[in-house]
Amino acid sequence: MTFTVRPDADAKLRGQVAFATDRGVPGMLWGALVPAPVARGRIRSLDLGPARAIDGVIAIGPADLARLLPGVTGAVERPVFPTDRIQYHSQPLAAVAAPTRQLARRAARAVRVDVEPLPPLEEIEGFDPVHPGPDRPDVIAHVLARHGDLDAAFGSADFVLSETYRTAGVCQVALEPHACIAEIQGDVWHVTTSTQTPFGAREDLASMLGLPEERIVVEGTWVGGGFGGKGAPLVEPYALLLARASGRPVRLALSYREEFQLGRTSLPSVVRIESAVKGGRIAGRRVHWRLDAGASLPGRDFTTGYAIGFILGPYRIPAIEMEGYAFRTNKPPLGPHRAPMAPQCVFAEESHMDHLAARLGVDPVAFRRAHVWKEGDRTHLGQKVGPFGLDRCLERAGALAATWSQDAAPHTGVAVGVGFWSTATGAGGEVRLVLSPTELKIIEGEREIGSGSVIRGIVAVAETVLGISRDRVRVDYHDTRSAPFDSGVFGSRTLAALGQAVQKAALALRDELGKRLSVPAGSVQLAEENGELVAVSGRRRAKIRSLLTATELALGGLTGEGRHYGVSGEIDTARVVEGTFYPYTDFTGAAHVAMVQVDPETGAVRVMRYAAFQDAGKVVDLPTAQGSIEGGVAMGLGTALTEETTWAEDGRMSNAGLLDYRIPTLGEIPPIEVHFEEGFLGAGPFGAKGLGEPPIIPVPATVGNAIFAASGVAMTELPMTPERVARALKLL
C-alpha cells in the first residue's frame, strides 16, 4: 500500500525520512546544556573545571564568549549565556560536548553553579501595571488604542457586561524536539537544523554570534512539526559555539523534558472584556489584557499589539478601547504557538458574545451576524475590510447548529464560535522554477514542516498554472547558500507568499513557452508523452526538449523566477495612543460548531460532533486544506480542554512531560466536518487565504459556548478541565 495524498506521507509512515534527530556525522561530539538550578537569582560563580576534568569533554561558559566570538562587541540584546542574572528555570548557563551522550550529560551535571536564589516573579495580576512596585514583573510592552466616544457608549448603555477570563500557557508539542548539528567549515559556520525559518535563523544567528550573514549557512532538515516553536534559533547557537571551541562537529538535541522546559511556548494571560449594550446592539467595548511574556518577548510588542485586536472581535462596534501589557516574568521567553495568543483572546471575546446574547435573550448567531464585518467596513483601527466570508460562514454554521440542536440529548449543547485571522506576508519570498524535458523543479529554501504547504501546496500552484501532473513536479530544497530568499514557514503564509512566487514563475515559463510556440501564452498547458513533457496549445504540440536551446539543455532546463512581496493594508494611526499595532493583509474568517455533552455530576465534557466552516478564498489543494483544518481543530481541542503548563512555586515547570501535559489523543477527537467557503478572495495565489492558523482560533470559544448551552455555566478559564467545569457547576 502506498499513500498518495501527500508525497511525503509514504516515506514518513515508513520512518524513512531523516529528521534532525536522525542525523549524525562521523567524528561528531554530543552536546548538552547546563541548566539554571533556579528560576530567578544571581550567579555567584560558575565553575566548568569539574566538567573539563573529564577526559574528552569540552565546556564553554560566558567567560569563553569573547574568545570564541571576536565579532561580538559590547552588550548584546540576547546573550547566549547570562553572566549575572538567571531569568528562568533551566536557562542554559553553559554548554558541554563529549564523545558520547552519556558523557555529555555527566559533564553537564559536573559543572558547579553557585547562585543566590530570589523568589521568582510569576504573577501578572493583582497589581497596578503602571506602578508595579518592587518584586513585581517589569512591563516590557504596553499598547493602547481607542476610537469613538466610549464614555457616551458606557454612560447611556442599557446594560454593561464585564467579564474576566484567564488562559493557560500551551506548548507546541511537535513530535520532534529541537535538534541540530553544527560544524565549522573553514570560515563558514554551518548548521543543519530543524527550522521553520532558515533565513530568519541565519539572520538571528548572525546577530547573536556577531558574524556577517554570509559566514553562516543554515541547512534545513525535514521538520517534525513546528507550530511556531521552530522559528527563532534555540539550540543552534550553543551547538555552533561548541563546534567552534572543539574543532569538531557537534550534535545538540533537546530531550523531551528540555523541549518543554526550554521551548518557546505560549504563556498565561488575563483578559478583561466589557461591553456596553444599547437597543440590542454593542455600543462600546473596552478590553484590558495582561500577558505573561516570560523572560523576554521576541519581536517586542508584536504579540501584544496583534493578538489584542482579536479581543474586540470582527464586529462593528462604534466605540472601543484596547489596552495590553506584557510582563517580564521568570518563565522561559514567550514563543509563537499556532496563531499566537489568538485562540486565547478569541475564547474571551466569543464566550462574551454568547453571554451577551443570552442576557439579551437573542439567538447568538443572529446577534453576531448583526455586528459582523463585511467587505468595506472599517476595522477597530480604521483599516478597510477586504473580501471577508465570515458572515456567510456564520449563516451556514448557524443552520447546521440548528439541525444538530434538534437531536441533542439531555445535558448536550450545541453552539457556534467564530474567529478571524490574516495571512502574514513576512519579508517576502522567491523561487526559481526549472523546466527540463522531463520534470519541473521548484528550487526553494523552505523545508516541509508537516502542514503540506511546501511539499504539496506550492506544487499544486504549479499544477494549476501549467497543467502539469503532480508527479512531474519536484520540490528541490536548497540551503541558505544557494536557495532563493524566503522569510519562513510561519503566519499561514507559505502557500500565500511562496505559492504566489511559484505562480509568477510558472506564468513566466508559460509566457516563454507561448512565445516559442507562437501561440497565446494563456493557452499553453503541459502534458506527458512517452515519458517526456510536451507543451500543448490547441492542436499544437511540441516536446519541451525541442523548445529548449542547447545552453538551456546543458543548464538543466528553462528557468522562470518568481518573487512575491505581500502588501498589508493601513491602519488609522490617529487611533493608536501607545505601542505598535499591525494591519491585516487579508481577512480570513471561520465559524465553528460544536456539540458537547457535560456530565452534570462530574463536570466531564465530551465533544461529540464538530464542524468548521472556513473562509478560504480559493482552495488550492483540497486534501491538504482539509488536513490543516482537522489538525487545527484537534490542536484547539487540547487548548480548550486539557493542555496547560503548570509552574511550581520555585518557578520550575511542573508538568514537563507528555504524561501530565495532555495533548488530545484520537480518543478525544470527534468526527470533524470541514466545509469551505470560497469566493471571498485573499492574499494568496488565485485568491487563496492562509489556512495554517485560522482553524485553531475559534475552538476553545466554540467548545466553551457549547458547555454554556449544555449546562448554563459560563466557563471563564482555560483549559476547561472536568474539575474546572465541576467548580463552575458548583459541585464543589
Partner: protein, 285 residues
C-alpha cells in the same frame, strides 16, 4: 540510557537462579516494561542488571468453573480479548481496557501493574474488589497472599527479594464494574477509580477506590450499607456519602481532594447500579 546486563530466563528455575545473583538493589525486574522504562531512563544510578520475565511460560489464562487464573506476564491486550471475560467479570474487563492505549496494553501485564503498585493503578482496585490472590514463587518457596495484603504503598509490595509474581487468581466471577474519571479520557492517569463487585456466594459487595495515596483501599464500611445485589437509591446515597468521607484523599497535581470526594460519591453509585443491572455471571436473570 546507561548500559546494563540483560537476563531473559525462560523457565521459573532459571528466573530464580538469576535472582540469586547480584544485589537486589542493582537489579530491575521487568515484565512488559512499560512503566519500568521511565525509571530506567531517569535513574541517576543505573541498574547493573535487568531481568525480563517475558520468556517465562506465564502468559497464561485459565478458567476453572467460576474462578480465573491469570499468568502474571500475560499481556493485558490478550486478557481483555478473552471471549468470556467481559461477560463474566465485566469490572475486570473495564479496568484492563482503562489502562493506557491499545499499543501499551500489548506489552503491559497484570503482574507488572501489581508489582509496581501505583496509587493511581486502574487494576489494583478491581483486584481488591474481586478478592484477588497473588501467587508468588521465590527462592524460599511458594506462597499466596490476598491483593489487599500484597499491595502496601506506592511502589511498595509484600514481594520479598528473590520473589516473583507468577499469577493472580480471581476466586469467582462477580457482577462488577470499574469507573474512572480523568482529565483526558482516552489515555491518562485516573484522578479516581472506583471498582465494585458483588459476591453471589458471600452475598456482599466489595468496593475499592484508587487514586488514593499511598495505595488503593477497600471500603468495608460503605460495603455494609448495601444490602442485596440491587441496592436502592437511599442505600446507594448512604454508601456514597460514607465513601466520600472515609477515603483518605489528598490534593495533588491531578485533582483536588474536594473534587476526588465528589467523584467517588458519584462514581460509586453509578458503578453499583451498572454492576447490579447486569445479568448474573451464570446467565440467570
Amino acid at each position: 540510557m546507561p548500559a546494563f546486563s540483560f537476563v531473559q530466563p525462560s523457565t521459573t528455575d532459571e528466573a530464580l537462579a538469576a535472582l540469586r545473583q547480584g544485589e537486589p538493589g542493582e537489579t530491575v525486574i521487568v515484565a512488559g516494561g512499560t512503566d519500568a522504562l521511565f525509571e530506567l531512563e531517569s535513574r541517576r544510578i543505573p541498574p547493573q542488571r535487568v531481568i525480563s520475565l517475558r520468556h517465562l511460560p506465564w502468559r497464561t489464562l485459565s478458567w476453572a468453573g467460576e474462578s480465573l487464573r491469570i499468568g502474571s506476564t500475560l499481556p493485558l491486550r490478550t486478557l481483555e480479548s478473552d471471549p468470556d471475560l467481559r461477560r463474566r467479570i465485566p469490572g475486570l474487563w473495564q479496568a484492563v481496557r482503562a489502562v493506557g492505549s491499545v499499543a501499551l496494553r500489548h506489552r503491559a501485564t497484570l503482574g507488572g501493574n501489581l508489582g509496581r503498585s501505583s496509587p493511581a493503578s486502574d487494576l489494583v482496585p478491581i483486584l481488591l474488589a474481586l478478592d484477588g490472590e497473588v501467587d508468588i514463587v521465590g527462592i524460599q518457596g511458594e506462597r499466596s497472599l490476598p491483593v489487599d495484603q500484597f499491595v502496601r504503598a506506592s511502589r511498595t509490595t509484600a514481594l520479598g527479594p528473590g520473589e516473583l509474581i507468577r499469577s493472580i487468581a480471581i476466586p469467582e466471577a462477580r457482577p462488577s464494574a470499574f469507573l474512572w474519571q480523568r482529565v483526558r479520557p482516552a489515555n491518562d492517569i485516573s484522578q479516581v477509580g472506583v471498582a465494585v463487585a458483588y459476591s453471589p456466594t458471600r452475598k456482599e459487595w466489595r468496593i475499592a477506590v484508587g487514586g488514593v495515596v499511598p495505595r488503593p483501599v477497600l471500603l468495608p464500611q460503605a460495603e455494609r450499607l448495601l444490602s442485596g445485589p440491587s441496592p436502592d437509591a437511599a442505600e446507594l446515597r448512604a454508601a456514597a456519602q460514607e465513601a466520600s468521607m472515609r477515603v483518605p484523599f489528598s490534593t495533588d497535581r491531578r485533582a483536588s481532594e474536594a473534587y476526588r470526594r465528589q467523584l467517588v460519591a458519584i462514581l460509586l453509585q453509578r458503578a453499583v447500579r451498572a454492576a447490579g443491572s447486569r445479568p448474573s455471571p451464570s446467565g440467570a436473570p
